[in-house]
């Protein structure tokens, strides 16, 4: 469709304006992290320095919280991929009696806000005496991420033709072997998408570890970053920004990795056809 020149200019101006609105709050973070004299307002550092980053990274308790965050997120992603992969296989390949209701339940669970169940979950953890445990926090997070992962995994698996597997079986492969050697490699983009999606969701999750973990030495980066804000946020803007930048980095890097796979997932119409 033809758009007049004048209108095109308006389009570009509107987009540039919106982009500036989106950019300014984030740009503050970037500039402040390299500035020892950072303030609340955005300004170019007079002297670019890495001092803020070294200050954050030289504190062993910060390193520990990053390591714990990494452990939880990697652990969650691993459990989710394996368990969802196993569950998706029969859902994709076999005729099962309760398949339809199971899938509907899964889809239904996908959309419930996890925030809403945290009070009873805390009670459950108290009752089972597993609160303040990194392992069980990871397992809980994995369970909460499962419905979405099973749903996606099934859709990805549906795209792998069963004939390929059949020929593997003829050659003497077991179901598990054909899953590992035939279906798995073909689904690699899908598996990566799910793993990255789970990892970033978990890495950015503050509420769950905040509720389920209490000991200072067990807290992941999301919670220690919150505490840092509470303790020093009002004065040490540069360090807060540097801490935030370090914490945001994994999400951004993984997003760039995932980008080429993820664009497929955004056509919602296609994803719903099971």
């Amino acid at each position: 469709m033809k758009v007049s020149k004048k209108e095109l200019v308006v389009h570009y101006l509107a987009l540039v304006f919106l982009a500036i609105c989106f950019l300014l709050p984030f740009l503050w973070l970037v500039f402040a992290s390299f500035d020892q004299q950072a303030t609340q307002a955005i300004k170019l550092p007079e002297k670019w320095t890495l001092d803020n980053f070294t200050a954050i990274l030289s504190d062993p308790s910060n390193i520990r919280s990053f390591a714990i965050g990494l452990f939880i997120s990697l652990g969650q992603a691993t459990i989710v991929v394996i368990v969802a992969g196993l569950a998706a296989y029969p859902l994709s390949r076999y005729r099962l009696r309760y398949k339809r209701s199971f899938l509907l339940t899964i889809l239904f669970m996908t959309s419930l806000p996890i925030t809403a169940v945290m009070v009873p979950v805390y009670q459950l953890f108290l009752f089972l005496n597993i609160q303040d445990s990194i392992i069980f926090t990871t397992i809980f997070l994995a369970a909460s991420g499962l419905p979405y992962a099973i749903w996606m995994m099934k859709n990805f698996m549906d795209a792998v033709p069963i004939e390929l597997e059949e020929s593997a079986w003829v050659d003497g492969a077991s179901v598990l072997t054909s899953m590992r050697k035939v279906v798995g490699p073909l689904m690699l983009p899908g598996i990566f998408t799910i793993a990255i999606f789970t990892f970033t969701g978990s890495w950015g999750n503050f509420f769950v570890p905040y509720i389920l973990l209490q000991t200072q030495e067990k807290l992941p980066a999301s919670v220690t970053l919150y505490q840092f804000f509470g303790n020093y946020g009002i004065i040490e803007y540069g360090k807060l920004a540097a801490f935030s930048m370090l914490y945001t980095m994994p999400s951004i890097i993984l997003y760039i990795f995932a980008q080429k796979y993820m664009s497929k997932g955004f056509s919602l119409g296609g994803a719903s056809k099971g």
Binding site: L23, F26, A32, Q40, A87, I139, F140, A143, S251
Partner: protein, 280 residues
């Protein structure tokens, strides 16, 4: 099935049990401290009776609706659609450039989003500097307009998702259909409202549901930005639930609020599943 059992165990233990517990606890006087802590009692609908008489609860429900409406439905969905429409048929490099900037806000974890906006809106922050630069008085945004502040921050964080969904949907609209309408003499507005919009309607509705459900669970952003305050000005239901359960130790009451959240979420997801017309 053997392959399904790990999923079943995990979901049963950590998803379905808590949901059932929500129903159970919501009818008890469960608390962590005080005399009630030792003996949990079934108190029927007492929590709900208290809840509906509690002015704080009613205000909280109202704030939640305002937050959902302005930050999810109007803010993210409409802004996402506008950006996706404006980006159509622009130069590739330009599209990518704008896209990356908008997506940066989406990729950033919620807690960091909160920091960015606390700084941006603070007394001596960027926004007030700009306002002063063009001759306005600075405003203490987080105290004077707390709801507006958290709504805008959440729009900033979430819009990219809607934008990407709509970009994908608009790219799927066949050009030939639009061209045919133009040949038949339709104006550009007519083409948009009568041709393009009906084709992408499904994506819009689905996206709206997803964004609503996502926004219903927002806790970290507001908790970090305002802590639900000043006073209880930004105390939406998740924050109210947290305060009752983990600050006042009224677990029974807190769980009753959870149940309200779950019911709202359930209605929204059932609607969503209907709109998606799931074929299995």
């Amino acid at each position: 099935m053997l392959f399904l059992s790990p999923s079943w165990i995990l979901l049963l233990l950590f998803f379905i049990t808590p949901m059932l517990l929500t129903f159970g606890f919501a009818f008890t006087n469960l608390s962590l401290t005080g005399t009630d802590a030792a003996n949990i009692q079934f108190i029927g609908f007492q929590n709900f009776a208290n809840m509906f008489q509690d002015p704080e609860f009613r205000v909280s429900v109202f704030r939640t609706i305002v937050f959902l409406l302005f930050s999810a439905v109007i803010g993210q969905v409409v802004l996402g659609l506008i950006i996706a429409l404006l980006m159509k048929e622009k130069r590739r490099g330009f599209r990518r450039f704008i896209g990356v900037i908008v997506i940066a806000g989406w990729v950033t974890p919620e807690i960091v989003v909160a920091f960015c906006w606390v700084a941006f809106l603070s007394d001596a922050g960027t926004f007030n500097s700009i306002l002063q630069g063009i001759g306005f008085e600075p405003i203490t945004w987080l105290f004077t307009f707390p709801m507006v502040s958290v709504i805008i921050a959440n729009i900033w964080h979430g819009t990219a998702f809607s934008m990407m969904v709509f970009q994908a949907a608009l790219d799927d609209v066949p050009k030939s259909v639009q061209e045919a309408a133009v040949i038949d003499g339709a104006s550009r507005w007519q083409v948009f409202f009568r041709v393009t919009l009906p084709i992408v309607k499904g994506s819009i509705v689905t996206n709206m549901m997803l964004v609503t459900l996502q926004t219903l669970g927002v806790f970290t952003l507001i908790y970090t930005m305002t802590g639900g305050g000043p006073g209880n000005a930004t105390q939406i239901l998740p924050i109210f639930m947290y305060n009752q359960a983990f600050v006042n130790y009224q677990f029974g009451y807190g769980t009753a609020i959870s149940l309200v959240l779950l019911v709202i979420g359930t209605i929204a997801s059932l609607l969503y599943m209907r709109f998606m017309k799931v074929k299995l």
